[in-house]
């Protein structure tokens, strides 16, 4: 199961940060506003192969089946993972050292996904999660096309685009 971000939907409300902090004591997701025109939730993408796991000499970050696993006891705090991560998603927290998303293994769906008012965080297996994004994008493209070609707007039923 994977967590994916639909940046087009983020409303910069900080709900995911507070939910993550509530569950983990410190937030492992962070919202970055870009020029006050968009907002990007920054969190671990659980890459495969993961650059952070590749550079981790202490064995704290390891490649799991569908996630990158972090074991705090093994961490030497060398910081190489922070440099290696292309998404800025590994960082040193204020109190508890390295912080990285663990996909809330004790929950069926991660807290940030459940709490996201705008459904900008999408959870599912690879086909499912990208399918939601594809359908949302298709809906938008269809509208833009209809508008640009002078056609009537395509009014879709609930669930017609983007929703299960």
């Amino acid at each position: 199961m994977y967590l994916y971000v639909d940046i087009d939907r983020c409303i910069y409300c900080h709900a995911c940060e507070i939910a993550c902090e509530r569950v983990h004591g410190e937030s492992r997701i962070s919202l970055e506003a870009v020029r006050d025109r968009a907002c990007v939730p920054v969190l671990c993408h659980h890459c495969d192969p993961a650059p952070c796991a590749a550079v981790c000499s202490g064995g704290a970050l390891t490649q799991g089946e569908s996630s990158v696993i972090f074991e705090a006891e093994e961490c030497t705090r060398c910081g190489l993972c922070i440099i290696a991560c292309p998404f800025g998603a590994v960082y040193l927290g204020e109190a508890d050292g390295l912080q990285k998303c663990d996909l809330c293994p004790e929950m069926e769906v991660p807290a940030c996904v459940l709490t996201c008012p705008a459904e900008a965080l999408v959870w599912g297996d690879g086909v499912e999660r990208t399918g939601v994004l594809r359908r949302r994008a298709a809906g938008r493209v269809a509208q833009y096309y209809a508008e640009s070609s002078g056609r009537d707007r395509i009014s879709m039923p609930q669930g017609g685009a983007g929703y299960e």
């Binding site: 409300c13 900080h14 709900a15 940060e17 507070i18 939910a19 459904e119 009014s155 609930q158």
Partner: protein
């Protein structure tokens, strides 16, 4: 002991009525998402997620406190209530009941609010009000006149069925994030989102069309859109003919509001005005979403009226996806209004000027004649205190001095009171001014119903015990009423709710059992097995004759404009991580960490002009006072207009005290100001 239980609750912050569970186990209360709640489907905003931080906060008031020369001194509940009852008795004896003022709380339950105003009015005082005065008070008379019912017409989730969502004066992405869930689903279906807002906000990010209008020019825009709609024949002839009156006068009124002329007033292009009008009128079902950007003006009632006119002209009401959405701010502000905690209304929106309707309430209560006529409002009570007409003030759950406009004046005025008692969960700045402070239970520490913005009445059970000797407002009011010799004989909130059902027709079918069901009941629910009424105005209107009234209004400029001395305009609003006057969110660790201080947003051109760089401490000064805030230099803000959130006490020291003549709401949204940095360049 593994005594773990899940107690459903209703979020204590804004008025959307989101549900979640409080999980109680030995580790302390935790939040669990309620995936089957009809409004939020489990999701919660930042504040909802942080709400447990309030419950166990060390600042919670735990004991009744009396102000002495040596500071606050702990007293017993018996002494506290006897003091309050004694002061009420003295005040009535020496100055009459109209020297008593009562400010109820939009955070208290319906049952608490109902009893509070019943106590006040049974004592003979008509001075009952609540914070709705400075939030949606214009919606009440404007909707009552136009539609007959002063509330949101459709459920929040029904926005997903809209083909056009016209947002004017609301930044719901930050302030009511759950609204964005449904608006974005509508967008997935092909709906257009049109936003009129002087600022660029996360709401405007998602707009298909953003009209960045000048402050307070909403009526000009709305009249301009109606001009286009009439000119192009886009209005709903059948709806207007069958269901409204007043159309001809509207045609005359808006004839002068051509797109070219309006463009000059609002600062958007004529093409944008035309496009907005076509999208709104031409969509199968369109919704208007508005909030404080419409109401908090010296002509707020006109602003709301023009919104209603637009919906009536185009028949965008009374159907799924078509409606008017005044987004309300406090978890029970709709309920407090329904319960008559307003200077102009008895419970059930019964006008204080309607002797026959008030007589029915007298009969239901078994009292003698009840006071008639407009009472003092939240805004006029401090003024009356200064002039000696108000001697005693009882405030529940409201930080009046930080919420009021031009707040330094309000503070001085309240000092003239003979006695002030404040009942709250924290020692707010208002409580600091009181003679007596009573500790209150927070929402999850008591039971009763809350009515959300979408008229959803939900029972919120008690999940936790209040700290120390804190008590529910209900038990405090009941004990005080008994001391005052009033016949308040209720075993608990369930019995009060039953009485509410007998007095307020739209609550007649709402029992505790119904309100306890998932999602509760949406009023009007006039009898026991009635399913509730999610969409209003489907058949007729409750206005006289069953027809809605189109009331043409003219554009009036804001009371203050930029001058040589005060060359900028200050507008105020909310940010995602804080709530209202901030007495809760400023005590919430996870929120404060991210939004620790007051800021002022300004355009880079203005920053340059006054030699301000980002993160400077800036002094903002208006005719009422001056305050310091941290500079945020951003193109979110148009040149000439600066923005400050009102969650920190300083902001309202600056705001205007010019009020709307009918709703008596102050013009929080426009104040002429000047700025200077610490470096002393003015």
């Amino acid at each position: 002991m593994a005594d773990e239980r899940l107690v459903p609750t209703v979020c204590p912050y804004c008025a959307l009525g989101c549900g979640f569970y409080i999980k109680i186990n030995e580790g302390g209360p935790m939040i669990e998402y309620m995936l089957d709640h009809p409004t939020n489907e489990g999701s919660l905003c930042a504040k909802g997620n942080a709400s447990m931080e309030i419950i166990n906060h060390p600042d919670r008031l735990r004991h009744p406190l009396k102000k002495t020369e040596a500071g606050w001194s702990r007293i017993s509940w018996d002494e506290a209530l006897a003091t309050v009852a004694g002061k009420i008795g003295e005040t009535v004896r020496d100055h009459g009941p109209d020297a008593l003022g009562f400010l109820g709380s939009a955070k208290s339950t319906n049952e608490e609010n109902y009893l509070f105003q019943k106590m006040a009015r049974t004592l003979g005082s008509k001075n009952v009000d609540c914070c709705a005065r400075r939030c949606h008070s214009p919606t009440i008379p404007a909707f009552k006149r136009a539609l007959g019912a002063s509330c949101m017409t459709n459920p929040i989730s029904d926005l997903a069925n809209s083909d056009c969502i016209f947002v004017i004066g609301s930044n719901f992405a930050e302030n009511h994030p759950i609204v964005a869930r449904w608006a974005l689903r509508a967008k997935d279906r092909g709906a257009k989102i049109v936003v009129a807002d002087p600022r660029i906000t996360p709401t405007t990010w998602h707009a298909d069309l953003h009209l960045q209008i000048k402050l307070g020019t909403d009526v000009a825009l709305l009249n301009g859109m109606m001009n286009v709609i009439i000119d192009e024949g886009l209005w709903d002839r059948k709806f207007v003919a069958d269901r409204t009156v007043g159309f001809e006068a509207l045609v005359d009124k808006v004839a002068g509001y051509t797109p070219d002329k309006v463009s000059g007033i609002i600062g958007s292009t004529p093409e944008a005005i035309v496009r907005a009008a076509r999208i709104y009128a031409g969509s199968d079902s369109s919704a208007i979403v508005y909030s404080m950007g419409i109401t908090q003006h010296s002509h707020g009632t006109n602003n709301v009226t023009a919104c209603a006119d637009l919906a009536l002209l185009t028949g965008q009401l009374g159907r799924s996806g078509a409606g008017l959405y005044p987004l309300r701010g406090q978890n029970n502000v709709q309920g407090a209004c329904d319960m008559g905690v307003l200077a102009d209304f008895y419970p059930g929106s019964v006008s204080v000027h309607d002797p026959r309707a008030v007589q029915l309430i007298e009969e239901a209560w078994g009292t003698g004649p009840l006071p008639m006529g407009m009472g003092m409002t939240a805004e006029t009570m401090p003024v009356a205190a200064a002039s000696g007409n108000l001697r005693f003030l009882y405030i529940i759950g409201e930080d009046l001095v930080n919420s009021d406009s031009s707040s330094s004046r309000g503070r001085r005025e309240l000092e003239s009171l003979d006695f002030m008692v404040v009942q709250d969960i924290f020692m707010t700045d208002t409580a600091e001014m009181a003679d007596l402070v009573l500790p209150a239970a927070a929402w999850a520490e008591k039971e009763g119903t809350f009515t959300s913005s979408e008229r959803r009445v939900q029972w919120s059970p008690k999940a936790l015990d209040p700290p120390g000797e804190a008590r529910s407002d209900l038990s405090t009011i009941l004990d005080l009423a008994r001391l005052l010799g009033l016949d308040f004989d209720y075993a608990g909130p369930e019995e009060v709710l039953a009485e509410i059902g007998r007095v307020v027709p739209s609550y007649a079918g709402i029992s505790m059992a119904r309100a306890e069901e998932r999602g509760g009941v949406i009023w009007p629910c006039p009898f026991q097995d009635h399913p509730g009424t999610p969409i209003l105005h489907q058949e007729g209107f409750t206005a006289p004759g069953g027809k809605a009234r189109i009331v043409p209004v003219d554009y009036l400029p804001p009371a203050e404009e930029a001058t040589l001395d005060y060359p900028l305009l200050l507008t105020t609003g909310r940010e995602a991580l804080h709530h209202n006057a901030g007495s809760m969110t400023r005590r919430s660790f996870s929120l404060m960490k991210r939004a620790p201080e007051l800021f002022v947003e300004m355009n880079p051109l203005d920053a340059d002009r006054w030699s301000i760089i980002a993160d400077d401490l800036v002094e903002v000064e208006t005719r009422r006072g001056a305050a310091w805030a941290r500079a945020r230099v951003t193109t979110r803000q148009e040149e000439g207009v600066i923005f400050m959130p009102f969650h920190f006490p300083e902001t309202n020291m600056l705001t205007s005290d010019v009020i709307d003549p009918e709703a008596r709401i102050p013009e929080f949204k426009v104040a002429a100001c000047r700025i200077g940095s610490m470096k002393g360049v003015i």
